[in-house]
Symmetry: C2
Subunit: 395 residues, 2 copies
């Protein structure tokens, strides 16, 4: 069997392989980016599904348009205004089968083999996997505790010039670091983007999950030239299992994405789109988001306090203002991937840091998720992790 | 905004643009490949959704594995045996977001730019659109009323040799022609495939919808070397709006597809997969398929009888033993696409034949769907179409 070059270069995403571990009930998993399932509105969804099947069952089970279910696109336009300070209408919006599909399609739309894609260093490993299919050259833009460093970005743009075809950023509660860009940083960034004119993917799956401090305006809300493509998702504020996300962009870009989506999978689920839309109509999504925030804030605090209490000296971690992740830094020379077997032997899981860098290295980091495990298991898991780390440091 | 070469070459699928027309209630549409929505099991699905949300709501709304929901994969393995005479297990099966995604991913797995893809002439236009993204050279294999002509296939294989990396066929109630390959033709085909050893995509979305004659063994059931990749779908036997389809192939191929799917959209809907699986457990899918067959048989008969009665002489059409489509041939020199405005002016729609040929031409054909319109509209639509055709022929 002869495969294509693309197929020969495919590797399994380490995060997906790790997700398989999380299905074993004995594992305390800080690995995936899974929401807390106990908050899924299962009882409300019974009413939602009954209403859909009673009022609109035939259309809900039939083929639909590639652009998406219009009432949902309208609700998203309203939410973009309310939650992200973005003015847009349905011509700026298309529905995708999860934000992962948005990442994958946008790479196809913008990248020829060898083109330069800029990413934060580190960045979301699922995005690296999606972009890789288009064979770009990845250039990592250095970051600090406030996100992308404008001066470093400008140096890279000056060096690579027109070869830069796309940049990917997560300015809000970044995956994996949990870092949020302050408003000054965003202004400086937008100034550069507007001068150099290149498309920027602003991935914002956690933007509504802020536990401290004030909302910072999204890049898209500052966008005057149509360079920002915003990716939003219901996965973290409602549920991921329906695979419903959205993209906000200039209609010229939306048009390309819709044509591509016709070829790759025709459309997102007609039923899943209506489940999302009816839920928003029949219940209070803001109230639901408030419940999620209350729980995750508690879990973030507990995880950070437990790390402070139990982790040995010399190990640092980020204190995220929102989102799902904290990023742990081990002393130089330690390798989080090599530690994995010892950690897994204690039935604890994390994601080692290396895969979040397109060019590898940076082995002395790992990512922890605090949204998915109940409180007692967070404390227990951090204790077990601390034991492994203490043993290693004592060597 | 600089787009990729792929983006610059994207065209909207004519079939999807036509689907938009079908949403206007006054149009008698024979254009899309839409199932009859009045048969969608909406009341049963209320019970299905209630059972899912009661018994397994958290997992149904959470992320799941890329391979798919295991109970559904097991049910599909059983159905492959029962309906398609194929022995397989869940390691041979993965769930896709509609068969369109299967087509798109398989092209990525097998095709480098410039590689040769063989297709029936004519073939499904959605497959042409999916494959095009990988920039193949399309070679059309001549067909007759029994499907692909083995001698012609062999000539082409001798000519293109190793450059042939994939073939795409619909041996059962073909889209667009409605033609089914008899068993002798299939044996001759498999003999060639086994001698030349290349992957063949057997797309079989309508295989269970046979109205006359006996079931013919699927190519996959005759496959001794793992060359056949079978694509099945719930879209036509249950409902398309959930976007749940499957692929049966050698585990080596499934492994590549799963890794690719991780990058392109992570997974099919957790909820949609359970809706399909619970439906099969709680109700009788065979009984449901029997209802669909009874209705579509009536509609096929009515459409074919109406064409016989009202169409002017010199126009021929296929009489399909199953599936959703009949293929109409106008006298040479007539152009079905040019006729479209006149047909649409009478609020009738079909798909002109040209787009079903990767290299175009063949303008004197159009495809008619008979599954979606109620009986009275089928007769009325064919009458209106006959009027336009008579007028044209009288010129």
């Amino acid at each position: 069997m002869q495969f294509s070059d693309l197929a020969m270069n495919l590797k399994a995403s380490e995060i997906r392989e790790l997700l398989k571990l999380t299905t074993m009930p004995e594992v305390i998993s800080f690995a995936g980016g899974l929401p807390a399932p106990e908050l899924f509105p299962t009882e409300q969804l019974k009413k939602v599904d009954d209403a859909i099947l009673t009022k609109d069952g035939r259309a809900a089970l039939q083929y639909g348009t590639t652009e998406g279910y219009d009432p949902l696109r309208k609700q998203i336009a309203a939410r973009m205004k309310q939650a992200f300070m973005v003015d847009c209408n349905i011509d700026n919006i298309t529905i995708t089968s999860g934000s992962q599909q948005g990442l994958s399609m946008l790479a196809q739309i913008f990248i020829n083999p060898g083109d330069v894609v800029l990413v934060e260093s580190p960045t979301y490993l699922g995005a690296i996997n999606a972009f890789k299919l288009c064979k770009p050259e990845f250039v990592e833009v250095p970051t600090d505790e406030k996100g992308v460093i404008p001066e470093e970005l400008e140096k890279i743009l000056a060096k690579y010039g027109d070869r830069v075809r796309m940049m990917y950023v997560i300015p809000e509660f970044q995956n994996p670091t949990g870092i949020t860009w302050p408003v000054e940083r965003r202004k400086a960034f937008m100034d550069i983007v507007n001068r150099y004119d290149f498309p920027v993917l602003e991935d914002d799956p956690y933007g509504e999950l802020r536990y401290d401090g004030d909302k910072v305006p999204s890049l898209k809300s500052m966008d005057t030239k149509g360079n920002i493509i915003f990716l939003g998702s219901f996965s973290k504020i409602l549920m991921p299992g329906l695979r419903i996300a959205w993209m906000v962009a200039d209609p010229v870009i939306i048009d390309k994405v819709v044509k591509l989506k016709q070829a790759v999978d025709l459309q997102a689920s007609s039923f899943g789109q209506r489940q999302t839309s009816y839920y928003i109509d029949m219940f209070d999504l803001d109230e639901h988001v408030a419940k999620i925030k209350a729980l995750y804030k508690k879990r973030r605090d507990l995880m950070c306090e437990s790390m402070k209490q139990y982790f040995p000296e010399g190990i640092t971690f980020t204190y995220p203002e929102g989102g799902l992740f904290t990023w742990v830094t081990l002393p130089e020379g330690m390798d989080a991937k090599e530690l994995m077997p010892k950690v897994l032997a204690k039935n604890v899981a994390y994601v080692p840091g290396g895969p979040f860098y397109p060019h590898g290295g940076h082995a002395n980091h790992f990512r922890l998720n605090y949204s998915n495990m109940p409180e007692d298991r967070i404390v227990e898991g951090i204790k077990r992790l601390a034991d492994v780390l203490k043993e290693e440091l004592a060597k």
